[in-house]
């Protein structure tokens, strides 16, 4: 039938969207893959994964029941135990942001707009086919997005997250939320969460986290054996990749990086300032700021974002391998250690940042806030103050997904890098 089609075919809006999406993805992939040199061989798996998904349109989980998650607080273990594949719907495409712009006010967060756009256009290979979305009550924009997703025809499960995590009430509230979710997710997938399954998935996710820790630990080395952009690729792949495959690929990467450490390999420049990245999450392909940092001779040695470190850092510890204990343990891990700015208190995040700077021997902090991401914007002040008190230089960048205005940003980043180098020399 296709042969009979006229030569001058009019591209549908969806086709155009896919084309733009592919262009955007391959542009960033090219920079990541070819812009730096010295890529670890094991990184090829991740580059290929992104290329397959975004440029070739290959679905990572063709026949599986996928459950969309909107934030880092949704327990993967439970979804896996119910036989579902958790897919993180936080999106980084400018192409999608433009579509999502119709739903949200102009001054709202690029990430939420992009996620909505992705769900609307149904062009993202990994999220296509999702019926149910778990949306935690985190920031206002995510909360309100739930209604729009329902409008689009998705089945949205609002998972209640308390705004205060220090209080006992908050803990109990969230535990109840997670217990209820454990039942509900079984209804969504049609498979009940059992003790055996949950124990297995806790271990499975634990092993993935462990591999990430192994990789992260290597970044403490001087010279730095791996660039931050690669780490973001690895952790971004965790959003949608198959857990076992991801773990195996990351293990392979660890082994390679360990060899690099042994031979004293330096992935960055001789005096590249070591940076801790924090703030709004860089999600592929919006690796704009991380790439700018590393292009400006900086190197990201650690991060404090929900698309990377916060996603994988804290592990579940179980005392008694029973449902009641495992579910509560999972609940605690996703609430108590979470440094998301939507909570009232900011102390944990500041403490974490300082500790990261110390243990990863960083020279400075770069704080990214998406304009419209009010919680990160609001926390900027207190973090800046704390960093000043600690004598840690910090650069605050307000940005969005638009490709314009990069020149000014890169100038600022370069200047910051220079100042760090000067500071390093003076020490």
């Amino acid at each position: 039938m296709s042969t009979e089609l006229p030569q001058h075919q009019v591209e549908t809006s969806q086709q155009r969207h896919i084309r733009h999406q592919g262009m955007e993805a391959s542009g960033v992939l090219d920079t990541v893959e070819k812009g730096f040199g010295g890529n670890p061989e094991a990184m090829q798996y991740f580059y290929d994964l992104f290329r397959d998904v975004y440029c070739e349109g290959i679905k990572p989980h063709p026949d599986k029941e996928m459950i969309g998650t909107m934030c880092v607080q949704i327990p993967d273990e439970i979804i896996h135990a119910a036989g579902g594949i958790p897919v993180r719907l936080c999106n980084g495409f400018y192409t999608d942001e433009e579509v999502g712009g119709d739903f949200m006010p102009a001054k709202s967060c690029s990430l939420v707009k992009a996620s909505l756009g992705m769900l609307k256009s149904e062009t993202n290979p990994y999220s296509d086919g999702i019926k149910s979305i778990i949306n935690p009550t985190t920031c206002d924009q995510k909360k309100k997005a739930a209604g729009m997703m329902r409008e689009m025809g998705y089945q949205v499960y609002d998972m209640e997250l308390p705004p205060v995590k220090e209080s006992e009430e908050g803990r109990e509230y969230w535990r109840r939320s997670v217990r209820k979710f454990t039942h509900e997710v079984g209804k969504l997938t049609g498979k009940k969460v059992t003790r055996k399954n949950l124990k297995a998935t806790i271990k499975q996710v634990g092993q993935a986290q462990l591999t990430y820790h192994r990789l992260n630990e290597l970044r403490k080395n001087t010279p730095i054996p791996i660039l931050g952009k690669d780490i973001f690729m690895v952790t971004n792949a965790y959003f949608f990749d198959d857990l076992t495959r991801w773990t195996a690929a990351t293990e392979k990467l660890c082994t390679e990086i360990e060899a690099r450490v042994a031979e004293g390999y330096n992935a960055a420049g001789r005096r590249s300032p070591r940076i801790v990245f924090t703030g709004s999450p860089p999600v592929f392909p919006n690796l704009k700021i991380p790439l700018m940092i590393e292009q400006a001779d900086g190197v990201i040695v650690a991060d404090e974002t929900c698309s990377s470190n916060r996603l994988l850092n804290d592990m579940v510890s179980v005392d008694e391998w029973f449902m009641y204990d495992m579910v509560d343990a999972i609940a605690d891990r996703y609430l108590k250690s979470c440094t998301c700015p939507i909570f009232t208190m900011n102390d944990d995040r500041i403490r974490r940042l300082i500790e990261l700077v110390r243990t990863f021997k960083a020279d400075g902090v770069i704080y990214q806030a998406f304009s419209g991401c009010s919680v990160y914007e609001m926390e900027q002040r207190s973090v800046a103050k704390a960093m000043e008190k600690e004598g840690i230089p910090m650069l605050y960048i307000e940005t969005d997904y638009s490709p314009s205005g990069t020149g000014q940003l890169s100038t600022r980043i370069e200047a910051f890098m220079e100042s760090l180098k000067v500071r390093g020399r003076q020490k």
């Binding site: 006992e168 510890s317 005392d319 029973f322 944990d348």
Partner: protein, 322 residues
């Protein structure tokens, strides 16, 4: 260094089980082998377990000594009370509250009852914050009873029938002799009102103990005046539980595994010395902490056991199977 890594990676659960079992056998049956560790042990090595005990819980002689006539107690002869306390402190200083988590026979029995519950697949109970705050005062009430009732006896305000009031209430008096086939404490003594009230309460508490420790991990330790008494002196000990607040991500893993539901172990990121009054120093918190060096045990300022990622992984069974 290899030794340290081995300790940090050890299977604490198994280590504790064997250590507790050995301590239990020593204290409950050691007397049969003529082992005598004196009468100032800072743990519930019950003196009523006449045929087997290898040493006597300090609370028994303490209550006896405090019941002396005041003229004697507050005379130079009263120094003797201090000498008993001195020996108690020497024992205590060495191990701090680890006496509770690793040695106390009554604690061990509770852990065994917990193991039974786990076998049966029944969930454990927890106290809410409110309950915790109120109930945690009970141990101080017991402590006051065991100090002031004997003093009142010495001052002739109370009859000797109220002597050793805490021992009469303590479930260890009933439970521990059972392990030597001695059922003789399971009685209500009608010889006087005092005895009757105390023994009846004691039996009631024993009943509470049996079901309580089944439902709640380390049920009785929460009310134990020995724990409160320990806490008074815990700062003197060479055995310390330390926390590095900066390394803590407040994930709460330690709080969740804590048999005693001690919340500050997770939430307090300021205190360095994190030993709380309810703590039994079972070190489960250290074993369950995934952050390198966030929690640690120091003896004389030297770290002997600390939380490590590797240890956590091993204990959680996350190690890749080879």
């Amino acid at each position: 260094m290899k030794i340290k890594a081995a300790i940090d990676h050890m299977d604490l659960r198994r280590f504790r089980f064997w250590f507790q079992l050995s301590a239990f056998l020593l204290l409950v049956y050691g007397g049969r082998l003529a082992i005598n560790l004196g009468t100032s042990l800072p743990t519930f090595s019950c003196g009523y377990n006449k045929s087997g005990t290898a040493g006597v819980c300090y609370l028994l002689p303490l209550q006896h000594q405090l019941a002396q006539p005041w003229e004697r107690l507050f005379s130079p002869a009263g120094v003797m009370v201090l000498s008993g306390l001195g020996i108690f402190l020497l024992w205590f200083v060495a191990l701090n509250k680890a006496w509770c988590g690793f040695i106390c026979p009554l604690g061990t029995i509770q852990d065994w009852i917990t193991a039974l519950r786990k076998k049966m697949g029944i969930r454990y109970s927890t106290y809410t914050d409110e309950q915790f705050k109120k109930l945690s005062l009970i141990k101080y009430v017991f402590l006051l009873i065991l100090i002031f009732v004997p003093l009142a006896i010495g001052g002739q305000f109370l009859s000797h029938d109220w002597g050793t009031p805490f021992c009469q209430l303590c479930p260890a008096r009933m439970i521990i002799p059972l392990f030597n086939g001695d059922f003789s404490q399971w009685v209500i003594d009608f010889s006087s009102t005092g005895r009757m009230v105390l023994t009846a309460l004691g039996m009631f508490i024993t009943g509470l103990f049996l079901i309580g420790s089944f439902l709640k991990k380390r049920f009785f330790c929460f009310f134990c005046p020995m724990g409160a008494f320990h806490y008074i002196f815990s700062k003197l000990s060479i055995f310390k539980l330390k926390k590095e607040g900066d390394k803590c991500t407040v994930c709460g893993d330690c709080y969740r595994v804590c048999d005693m539901q001690i919340k500050p172990i997770a939430d307090d990121v300021v205190s360095k010395d994190i030993l709380m009054d309810d703590c039994i120093l079972c070190l489960k918190c250290v074993a369950s902490c995934p952050e390198q060096g966030a929690l640690r045990v120091d003896i004389l300022g030297k770290t002997v056991f600390e939380s490590t990622k590797g240890g956590f992984v091993k204990r959680m069974g996350l190690e890749a199977k080879k």
